[in-house]
Amino acid sequence: MKRHLKIALRYFKVNLASAMEYRSSFLMQAFGMALSNATFVFFWWVAFSHVGGRIGGYDFADVMFIWALCSSAFGLSNVLFANVSHLTRLIVTGELDTFLLQPCNVLMNVCCARTSLSAYGDLLYGIVLLALTQGGNGAAWASFALGVPVGAALITAVGLTAHTLTFLLGDASLAGSMSVEFIINFCIYPEGIYQKFVRVLMYSVIPAAFIVHIPLRLARSFSPGWLALWLAASVLYCGFACWFFYRGLKKYESGNLIITRL
């Protein structure tokens, strides 16, 4: 485990250093993403000014909490594991060979090999939004602090599971990109706007509830039972994604592609 974390940390440092080589591009992308996210605060402000009270059981501060958490979790996932979204291409072109030959954990090596510049903007935006809308609410900050790494792991796990389908079914880039889009869309709106069958999906196949809605519930009224359920379900989901990847990897056939990674 310590070795895996060391690889992730080393990749993070190298990726950040290479991003900082093109500093203005990095800052523009991060700032642009944060500004782009901020426009949704305006949307919710207008929506709540028409309704006045709650939408789907959430008030304005609740919606800002799920937005902040979703943004930072998505940001952290793409700062550390942006290469997951390229997994299908690596499998289809045979570029995965390079990762298999290196003397470290394949999954960690593949996931951490790339970062996304705009994801830094997402990560930072969530923290700023939380500070502005929740102030010194300790429960909200505690839930956020735990929710960001758990949410990042879950978002990564969803993308990984979808892209792993490539090992079994051929090019699954569509499923890969759709899966993350779907999950984000179910994370940034109040749970109560959906009908029951959608909510069942949000607590099972599409784990949106475990990324933002349960952390919000814990921030508003803490319950050890919900905390245990949240962590157990998240570990199970991530564990399944890892197991599924290694299961799929057994089906991988090398194309004998010769490439150089610098």
Binding site: Y22, S24, S25, M28, Q29, F31, G32, M33, L35, S36, T39, F42, F43, V46, A47, S49, H50, V51, G52, G53, R54, I55, G56, S118, D171, S173, L174, S177, M178, E181, F182, N185, F186, Y189, P190, G192, I193, Y194, Q195, V198
Partner: protein
């Protein structure tokens, strides 16, 4: 080959291209359905807990379907394509060809947009009827005017995207400019009708180009009146001319400063 025929062939190739990449079509249709479903659920919750002046629930869902149709219709990679052409120097190869660079991009985009409007148009109508039924008090006689306004909305979006793409001549990275433009369009007309904005902002929104991409055509679609038509279409024409002029200006000034190193 005559000028018009050349560009017609380019447009036709891009229509064929759009039909060839089925995965892109399917993902686009799924995204569109997801957006409409999420916003249908959201507006249903809003209308249950409060009331929104000026629009019924059915009208607001159809409004959203129409605005998203304009946005999805304009889904072409033109900004990133121009960006790439400028940065990688691929523009050098395109400039040697017997076509005007901007006209080439326009013809290519028209092909893609026509295909998009076919796919998403059918789905849009189906989803509208599925979720909320027919538009209340729909004015059939206004259809040609709605189509004209819709085309002008698409043209305005396209000319703005070309202008943003060409800022690559001046900026090292213009992706943030596009993101901000996109979000202004979303907030000032796609997700929220201008009438829902605070009063002080409504006047500003109606004076800016963003609202005329989707709000104008969608408003005419759900609540057509001749007076509205004569207010919206001249503004669309004005902003389309301004953005096209700006794009051509950017192109000329970029061409003057372009340095090509052969090899």
């Amino acid at each position: 080959m005559s000028k018009a025929r050349k560009y017609f062939v380019i447009a036709r190739i891009h229509v064929q291209n759009a039909f060839a990449y089925r995965a892109n079509v399917i993902s686009g249709l799924l995204y569109y359905t997801l957006f409409i479903f999420v916003f249908f659920s959201l507006w249903q919750a809003i209308y249950q807990e409060g009331s929104v002046n000026g629009y019924t629930h059915g009208q607001v869902v159809w409004y959203l379907i129409a605005t998203e149709l304009v946005v999805f219709g304009c889904r072409t990679p033109i900004v990133s394509k121009i960006n790439e052409d400028v940065k990688t120097g691929a523009m050098a190869y395109l400039l040697n060809r017997p076509v005007h660079y901007i006209a080439y991009q326009a013809a290519a985009a028209v092909g893609q947009i026509l295909a998009n409007l076919c796919f998403f148009g059918v789905l849009a109508v189906a989803l509208g009827f599925l979720f909320v039924g027919p538009i209340p008090n729909f004015r059939w006689a206004g259809i040609p005017c709605m189509l004209l306004s819709g085309l002008l909305g698409v043209a305005l979006q396209f000319s703005s995207m070309v202008a943003i793409g060409l800022t690559a001549f001046r900026l090292e990275d213009n992706s943030a400019v596009y993101l901000i433009f996109q979000k202004l369009v979303f907030m000032l007309d796609v997700f929220l009708p201008v009438e829902f904005l605070p009063v002080w902002l409504q006047g500003i929104a109606k004076a800016l180009p963003f609202s005329y991409v989707a709000w104008g055509p969608a408003k005419l679609f759900v609540d057509f009146t001749w007076s509205l038509f004569f207010r919206i279409v001249p503004m669309q024409l004005l902003w389309f001319s301004v953005m096209t002029g700006f794009a051509l200006l950017m192109y000329r000034s970029g061409m003057r400063n372009l340095q090509m190193n052969g090899g």
